[in-house]
Symmetry: C2
Subunit: 201 residues, 2 copies
């Protein structure tokens, strides 16, 4: 097991293209014997340094229109339900802090998929603690404990460090897949990233 | 032949990702019985309306670094030579006007591939008329005649109209593939676009 090849899956909860990636990354990777390391981070601070105060999909309308149509196509192809959530981008800070604070816990992928499903399949607001509580329950966790652990000063620092690490790695969008120092950006690069991980194993 | 399915291939000569797309689009499409309509346009005026006076790959350095590395990987995978051209983005106006003025001539794809090869395989400057003359000769054309026809007021208007049409279609990057009114953006969406064209045929 020590030598099992792995990829890091860097995602941000409000990110549309992170949704199909999150729903499929584990099964695709497992089918070729690759382990997935889930890494929640925040695009907001990275966008802010580029002078953007919202998603580029809002700033550049033609890009935004394309993305919404493209998401419909991708989700149809993947057999995933898809709705445009109320408000975009949503505030994914608390969800991200939870996924970050409990990073290597085996339930994080289940929690993360529940959050993405709530947002992009059920059109719910993931800043709402009740919604997140249901996602935590689905992952077998006690919501109050998770909220508490995810909002300590240490947990907040961890999220800041995680996002700084994303920046150091040169990440500028989500999802991104990391294989060694090699970055693959975008849902549609998942298979390339897996192939790259196999080739270097 | 009237009912042969087709895709429109929208490209801009200075665009890096347009290079592998231009080199492969005809063979991939032909292998599945699809006709390709080549459509040169200018991203510059579209970028300018978004407040960009150069390529976003220059404005956003992490995105630029990723793109150059990604181009190396794509070209290695496609078996295409690749060098970073001297200066980016290059001035592709004259090359674009030629491809636009002679739009439906059968030699345009050959000319376009020669221009992309000069720029991204041989590292030449495609604003240089001597370089373009060699590309025209390779496509069996008289360079002086082509330069003349491509710089008439009518040819300039044609290029403006082409770029306005790209904007109307919602294009915001290159390459883009158009199937009916459906847009697929990016080199890595070529196969999706072809599949979409087959499905609706």
């Amino acid at each position: 097991m020590a030598d099992q090849p792995s990829i890091e899956f860097w995602f941000d909860f409000p990110s549309t293209y992170s949704y199909p990636a999150a729903m499929r990354v584990d099964e695709r990777a497992q089918s070729v014997g690759i382990r997935v390391i889930w890494r929640a981070f925040l695009l907001g601070p990275i966008f802010a340094k580029q002078g953007w105060n919202t998603s580029p999909f809002n700033i550049y309308p033609s890009k935004g229109r394309y993305m919404w149509r493209d998401m419909e196509r991708i989700c149809a192809r993947e057999g995933l339900p898809f709705v445009q959530p109320p408000g975009f981008p949503q505030n994914g800070l608390l969800a991200g802090r939870i996924a970050c604070a409990f990073s290597d816990e085996p339930w994080v992928p289940t929690f993360a998929r529940a959050v993405f499903t709530a947002q992009f399949a059920d059109g719910q607001n993931i800043a709402d603690k009740e919604i997140l509580a249901a996602c935590l329950t689905e992952a077998g966790q006690d919501p109050e404990h998770a909220f508490e652990q995810a909002t300590t000063p240490e947990a907040k620092d961890l999220m800041r460090a995680r996002t700084a690490r994303a920046e150091d790695l040169g990440l500028f969008g989500a999802p991104s897949f990391l294989v060694g120092r090699e970055v693959f950006w975008g849902y549609d690069r998942l298979d390339w990233a897996l192939q790259f991980a196999l080739d270097r194993a």
